[in-house]
Every structure is written in C-alpha cells, then in structure tokens.
Symmetry: C2
DNA sequence: TAGTGGTCTAGACCACGAA
DNA sequence: TCGTGGTCTAGACCACTAA
C-alpha cells in the first residue's frame, strides 16, 4: 500500500528496501517462501528484536502478508504459513490454457488484416462502427489436433504497428509487453452445431457439437480484445473455478 | 480480523460495538453506505477527535475498509468511497441465476431418492462407492419454458432428513439454512447433442445442441453438491466474469 | 508461567496535494 | 501554508495457548 517514503531512515542490517515495514515484510516473505503450510513464521517480538523496530511496524508488515494470504495468525499460538488460497479462474489465452493442460499449442493464421468495425464489434470494443480494428483469425491446434477457430478483434488505436510487426506467438504475451495484459474478462459461452466452414477447419462433420466462447478482455478499464472462439466439443471442456478468493 | 476483546473499554458516544476500531469501522461503514464512489470519507484526524481514540486505532479501522474495497486512500488528498470492485462469477443456483436474468424460475422434481453412489459420484463427493447419496433430478423452467435438466447428488451424511423434510424450492437456500451454502465451485462445461430422453423433457429435437455443466460445489472445504446440468443451447448462454477481484 | 497475537495510546516527522 | 495520508516509536494491558 505505501506509495512514497516514510520518515526516519537509518539502515538495518537485514534486507535492502527503503521502508522499514517493507524490509520486514520482504524478509519474512523470503523466509517462508516454499515453506509448507502450517510451519511457523517468526513471532512479532522476534522480528522487533531482529530489526530493531517498533512492534506496530512489524505488525504492519505482517498484516500485509496476512491480507495477501501468505500468513495466518492464530491468537495465543503464533503466526503460520497459510494454505494457499483458492483463486477464481484467471484470464488465460488459448496457448496458456493448453500448456496448463499439458498440451502443445500451435496456431495457423487464417486471416490478419485491418477492417472497419461492424456494429457488434464496435460496441464491444467501445468504438464507433467503421473505426479501424485488427481482425485476426487463427486455427488453434493442441498436440497437433485441430481444437478451435478463434476470431480476435483488437482496437487498432491501442496497438500501433501491431499488424506490421509480425504476428506474435501469443497474443496475451504481446499485449503484456505493451503493458496491456488482460486481467479481467467477460465471457459468454454456449453450445452450437459446427457450420460447414468450421467443420472443414476443425476436421469434424458439419453439425458436430461445438462450444462457442465470446470474450471481452480488459486491461485496466480498457477493452483490449474482443474474440469469438469455436471449440470442438469432443476435445475441449471448459474448466472453471467460481467463487470468492477468500 | 479481531477475534476477541481488547483492553481498555470506556464506551464512546457514537456506535455500539465492543472494540474501538470496530466502532470506528462500523461508524464509517454506515456513514458511507450508499454514498456515490468518489465522495469523501471522514479524515483520520476527524475520527480521532470524534471518537477520542489514537490515530493508529482509526487507521486500523480504515485499513479494514480499504482491504474490503469500500474505501480508497489518496495520499495528500484524503480517503474516498471506492468504485465497487469487479467480482468474479459467484456460485449461483439455477433459481438465483434465472432471477438475475429477470426470469421466473420453476422446477419440477422428476426423481428424488436415496441411492448408492457410483464410482464417479463417490469420487466427486469424496465418498466410497456404495455410500448413500441423495439423487435429485429436476426439470428447470424459466418463464414457463423448459431450460435445463439437472441431476444433483448430495452427501446424505451431511444432510440428515433432507429427503423427508420435503424438497426445498432452492437447494442453495436450503443448504444455506444448514450453514452449508456453497461459496466455491469447480465447473466443467462442454457442448453436446441432446439425447432422446433429454429432448422429450427439454421439448427440442433429439440431436439439438445442449450445454452440459458439471459442478462440484464446496462449503468451507467440504463438497456439498455434485451436479450435472443440461441446458437448451438456444435458450441459455453461460455468463462468466474471469480474473482477480483486485 | 511464559510466550503469542490483539488492542491501544500519544505523540512524531515526512511527502504530497490544493489553495 | 495547511490538511491529508504514510510511516514510526516505545511503551502498555488483555486474552489465549501450551508447557
């Protein structure tokens, strides 16, 4: 939470950051990194002696780690390494998702060009119909098998030189390099039957079941990607974790 | 965070809780409840004077509200009501989901009985095959139209007298009454074609696209519900918010 | 009984923002 | 310049846990 320097600074033997509570916090973080859940962290008074700071300062440091979910306090007993908290489904790209499933993602660009946004894409991207958008259509494979057809639409204004710079392997990596890695997304998911064209690319019969996923992906408050993905239902199941992180 | 009483207590004119920082916190919470985002909260020193407590105590109170996402501190300016944070998709029951969509949920029980858990259900519920489970199959309607067939499996041990007490309108409400409202779920979602039997209930042709959702719902660390739902794809689209809450 | 975390005091100086 | 939040001190008493 601290955003600028505090008051008295005198340099402490342990650690190397600027603020005292940050020093203590990072010292403890490093100390318990990799520890098994339930193992004891240093006591507050121990850290007071070690760092020569007030107990409130130590508590400020520990508070942050508790809020973070790294530590857990048990009154009368001590402070312990917490069991990692469950996290809701993160925003993953196809490549990241497949790698998490232990498969090798590949991608063939079917189309990559500048277009004028239609009304639907424009609304989703927060643009005006006719504005320039990047349309990128790819066939996605996993372990050499067709898995998905993905149409991504990107705001050209936010991504100058994107088409010229050669298409990246991972869209989300490229967006990350530009400081626009999506951290939030709104997905709509439903079921349908493969069209003739989809069937050809996905190597299934027309009318085979497919999972359709429409996404609006946000970085900060801006929509950076709108996409429609069509998955082979016989090869792909969406995995979701729902609920609060606490 | 506090789990028991603190030290000196002397009663303050404002508020009615036990701990000072809790008094301050709840006072501020009530004060800003319903305020528009961006409006100013009382300054820390203001609250110090109002409650006659140390500033650290006020900061402890405000810290909690900041972590909670209710307030936002801007150094040099003050403390303000924060814009509500985005929350990932919560765990909703069919009824709750439909009501959020502005539709009227209804439900017809097709089957409700005690069964011996098969291997799949047993594993998902954390039981041994052959253990007693409650199997509850319902046809779900929204605005009087067939929407979904749901098979729910419940751990009979956790829900004594469940079948005898008459089936509840909302499963999650009933679980909530027993202190076992699911707050976490793992869903698997894919697409398929309706079977003959499903087609009859859902009033579609056999082979129509359906969305299948398998759920493991948790209350605390215990699995309280395992379910398989089959939705008419022409009437139902899954809506998801992905990403971190911060 | 000793050690732990929970709460609280009454001050202090600092960096930043707005007037 | 004044008010804000950010940081920090050096103590204190309490309730609880475990030895």
């Amino acid at each position: 939470m601290p955003s600028y320097r505090g008051s008295v600074m005198e340099g402490v033997s342990v650690g190397a950051q600027s603020l005292k509570h940050v020093k203590v916090r990072e010292y403890v973080r490093a100390l318990v990194a990799g520890s098994i859940p339930g193992s004891a962290a240093p006591s507050e008074r121990e850290l007071v002696n070690l760092f020569g700071v007030a107990r409130m300062t130590v508590r400020q440091a520990m508070d942050a780690l508790v809020v973070e979910g790294l530590l857990e306090r048990i009154p009368g007993r001590g402070t312990f390494v917490a069991r990692p908290r469950r996290a809701p489904t993160p925003v993953l790209s196809f490549s990241e998702d497949m790698r998490r499933r232990g498969m090798l993602p590949e991608s063939v660009t079917l189309l990559a060009r500048l277009e004028q946004a239609g009304p639907g894409v424009a609304r989703a991207l927060g643009l005006t119909p006719g504005d320039a958008v990047i349309h990128w259509r790819r066939l996605r494979r996993a372990d050499a098998m067709p898995m998905c057809i993905e149409d991504a639409y990107l705001n050209e204004i936010l991504l100058p030189g994107f088409l010229q710079s050669g298409m990246p392997v991972s869209l989300y990596d490229e967006l990350g390099d530009r400081g626009m890695r999506p951290t939030w997304a709104e997905d709509n998911v439903n079921a349908d039957l493969a069209t003739e064209e989809e069937a050809v690319h996905l190597e299934v019969d027309a009318g085979a079941p497919v999972l359709r996923q429409q996404r609006r992906a946000f970085a900060e408050e801006k929509v950076v990607e709108v996409s429609r993905s069509t998955f082979r239902a016989d090869r792909f199941t969406l995995r979701l974790q729902l609920g609060q992180s606490e």
